[in-house]
């Protein structure tokens, strides 16, 4: 399979008047064409900042301080804003969390949808309108010819999210980032939107990054998972290994907070005891150590490297170190052979 996106050692910080908020602290992952990658983690763990970094949309006091984001061989961090704009909405597009506030209230849905199409294609206005109607139909909006003239406030939350998806897929993006696309919606609508995204993935053949609070959603939709915490990757894995054999205490905590029977769709995370770290002056060690049931001296001093558990599973936890105490369920990984 072909590599679509490769992120190396990404650091993104916000330079506020209180100091540097290190929202993302060294993230690496590789995305292959056709992947559906889930990113999961508590609120404030840096998921949105990661996706905004890929889009080149980190807001002003913030900027990428280190690392690269290579999309189809091009390092996006080296591009100017104008060059990036060619990618946005075209090759890479994004769906945001809150459909109520994410569409401009003073222009009609059709106006905003056609605007994106006209921006990235050579279509005429009429063709763009045809395409817009087709897209609205595709995302399941009835009477698209009429709805095209409607304004956002005339749409319900679910409909707006469909409209946003229509905008995002209007130019057949190679990468679609969805940042908690269902969090703000009713439970029944959530399922519909997820189903829509899955069906669209096959129709337009795109790669997806799906950010969510909800491990249940990830299990249903994704083939790869990243668990984030405190701006770092805690565990990275394919879907089966993560659920069958979680290798990070944080992942275990998350899984335990998901109800086992999947009858109710609302698998919101119940936060683990304690609160997320302050990213303004993060302690030097593993961000999870203050809340970790197995915290060791070293965890407070140094963050662990990503230990390779298998070809498809990596976990950033010192418990995998040969010298660490035995804890049931955690695999030991051999140390450096050079020793």
């Amino acid at each position: 399979m072909k590599t679509l996106l490769e992120i190396n050692n990404l650091h993104t910080s916000f330079f506020t008047h209180l100091g540097e908020v290190q929202a993302v602290r060294g993230i690496d992952f590789v995305l292959e064409e056709g992947d559906i990658l889930g990113i999961v983690g508590e609120s404030g763990s840096g998921k949105s900042v990661t996706s905004l970094s890929i889009m080149g949309l980190v807001d002003d006091p913030g900027r990428i301080t280190e690392g690269s984001i290579v999309f189809e061989g091009v390092d996006l961090t080296k591009l100017t804003n104008e060059q990036l704009a060619e990618y946005r909405g075209n090759d890479i597009s994004m769906i945001f969390q809150d459909p109520m506030t994410s569409i401009n209230p003073v222009y009609s849905i059709g106006n905003q949808l056609m605007e994106v199409i006209l921006r990235h294609t050579k279509m005429t206005k009429e063709e763009a309108k045809e395409r817009a109607i087709e897209l609205l139909k595709m995302v399941g909006i009835p009477e698209p010819e009429v709805r095209l003239k409607n304004y956002p406030h005339q749409f319900s939350g679910g409909m707006r999210q469909r409209a946003m998806i229509a905008m995002a897929i209007s130019c057949n993006p190679k990468l679609l980032i969805a940042d908690e696309p269902t969090t703000a919606l009713d439970v029944t609508i959530q399922a519909q939107i997820l189903e829509l995204m899955r069906s669209l993935k096959d129709k337009i053949n795109t790669t997806i990054i799906l950010i969510t609070h909800d491990l249940g959603v990830i299990a249903e939709v994704c083939n790869k998972v990243i668990v984030m915490y405190g701006g770092m990757i805690m565990e990275r894995s394919n879907i089966e290994s993560l659920y069958d054999n979680p290798q990070h205490p944080y992942t275990r905590g998350l899984l335990q907070s998901v109800p086992k029977n999947v009858t109710g769709k609302k698998n919101r995370l119940i936060p683990i005891e304690g609160s997320p770290p302050d990213l303004l002056s993060p302690p030097p060690g593993c961000p999870f150590s203050p809340r970790c049931p197995h915290a060791m001296e070293i965890c407070l001093k140094e963050a662990a490297p990503l230990f390779k558990i298998s070809d498809t599973q990596f976990a950033s936890c010192w418990l995998h170190h040969v010298d660490a105490p035995e804890v049931e369920g955690y695999v030991k990984v051999a140390g450096d052979e050079n020793e």
């Binding site: 889009m55 949309l57 807001d59 804003n81 104008e82 704009a85 060619e86 990618y87 946005r88 909405g89 075209n90 597009s93 994004m94 945001f96 809150d98 506030t101 994410s102 569409i103 401009n104 209230p105 003073v106 222009y107 009609s108 605007e115 994106v116 921006r119 990235h120 409607n150 304004y151 406030h153 005339q154 749409f155 319900s156 679910g158 409909m159 946003m164 905008m167």
Partner: protein, 317 residues
């Protein structure tokens, strides 16, 4: 959609009615009524007043009569100046006031809004600090200070600028330059306020999620700002500009006094110091009516900008 406009018009009419009523009864709340405090009325005026206001009628009947007058755009005679009516004063004073006011309003919008946008886009850069410093000075220095500064510092050194209004200018220079002082004094505050308002509104809008969406769709920065942000950012500006225009078009009491402009602001101040009660009531109602009409226009403009107002609430799924 029609509903909205009808509702707004009715609302404006109702407010105007309240204004007339309150003003009328406030004036009659003066012990002994507005017309008896002054002992030395010329008998001719006394006669006209009696004829016009039927001062011996019960209060309620007087009120109905006055309302009737207002409905037919008749604001009654002056209480102090024989033979003059309030309508005469307005007819005489309004054109000058409106000329100066119109130029000022145009200046305020044409300079204030772009200045605010530039400041917002260059937030915390030099130009932003400079513009906002001036704007802060502008909203803190009263118009009579601006006017006197202008007269003592600028007009004194550039003698081609008249320091007081030239009524029938003989040459083109006077016709144009006589506007400089009044317009600067009249627009100083509002221009500063509009640019500050535009700036903060623009900054607020630029933080909104839909602006991020527009950027995420790859739109150029120009389009993001001038199409997506500007229209939203102008909503509060429009709200301010409407009533402001009403206040400025009717002339300013202060500026007209300093520059000796024969506008209705000056007549109003004169009527206040002369205790010309009928003129005070009439002018107040005229001012209020104009103000209410401007507020109504703002509501209409609102509906143009914001479809949520134009089209009402959700149509359902």
């Amino acid at each position: 959609m029609k509903n909205y406009y009808v509702q707004r018009v009715l609302y404006a009419l109702f407010t105007l009615y309240i204004v007339i009523t309150v003003t009328f009864f406030m004036m009659h709340a003066i012990p002994g009524g507005p017309f008896t405090r002054e002992r030395h009325l010329p008998p001719e005026i006394e006669a006209i007043l009696n004829e016009k206001y039927h001062l011996d009628d019960p209060l309620f009947k007087q009120y109905i009569d006055y309302l009737g007058g207002v409905v037919t755009f008749d604001l009654g005679p002056s209480f102090k100046e024989l033979g003059l009516t309030v309508n005469d004063l307005i007819r005489e004073g309004f054109p000058s006031s409106m000329n100066v006011g119109l130029v000022s309003v145009i200046m305020i919008i044409a300079i204030g809004v772009p200045l605010g946008i530039i400041s917002a886009l260059k937030q915390n850069k030099f130009i932003d600090h400079a513009a906002m410093f001036l704007a802060t000075l502008g909203v803190t220095i009263p118009s009579f200070v601006i006017a006197t500064l202008f007269i003592t510092l600028i007009a004194a050194n550039f003698t081609f600028i008249p320091i007081s209004w030239v009524n029938d200018p003989q040459n083109v220079g006077d016709a144009i330059f006589r506007y400089i002082g009044p317009v600067i004094a009249l627009s100083g505050y509002s221009l500063s306020f509009v640019s500050r308002l535009t700036r903060s509104s623009m900054l607020e809008v630029l933080r909104q999620d839909y602006i991020r969406t527009a950027r995420a769709n790859g739109l150029s920065e120009r389009r993001v700002i001038f199409k997506h942000a500007l229209k939203n950012a102008l909503i509060p500006v429009v709200t301010y500009v409407g009533p402001m225009a009403a206040a400025i078009l009717t002339g300013s009491f202060v500026v007209e006094r300093i520059f000796v402009i024969p506008g209705i602001g000056r007549y109003f101040v004169e009527s206040v110091s002369n205790r010309d009660y009928t003129v005070i009531i009439g002018m107040t109602i005229f001012y209020a009516a104009l103000y209410i009409v401007m507020v109504l226009l703002v509501d209409v403009a609102y509906a143009f900008i914001d479809p949520r107002i134009r089209l009402g609430k959700k149509m359902g799924d």
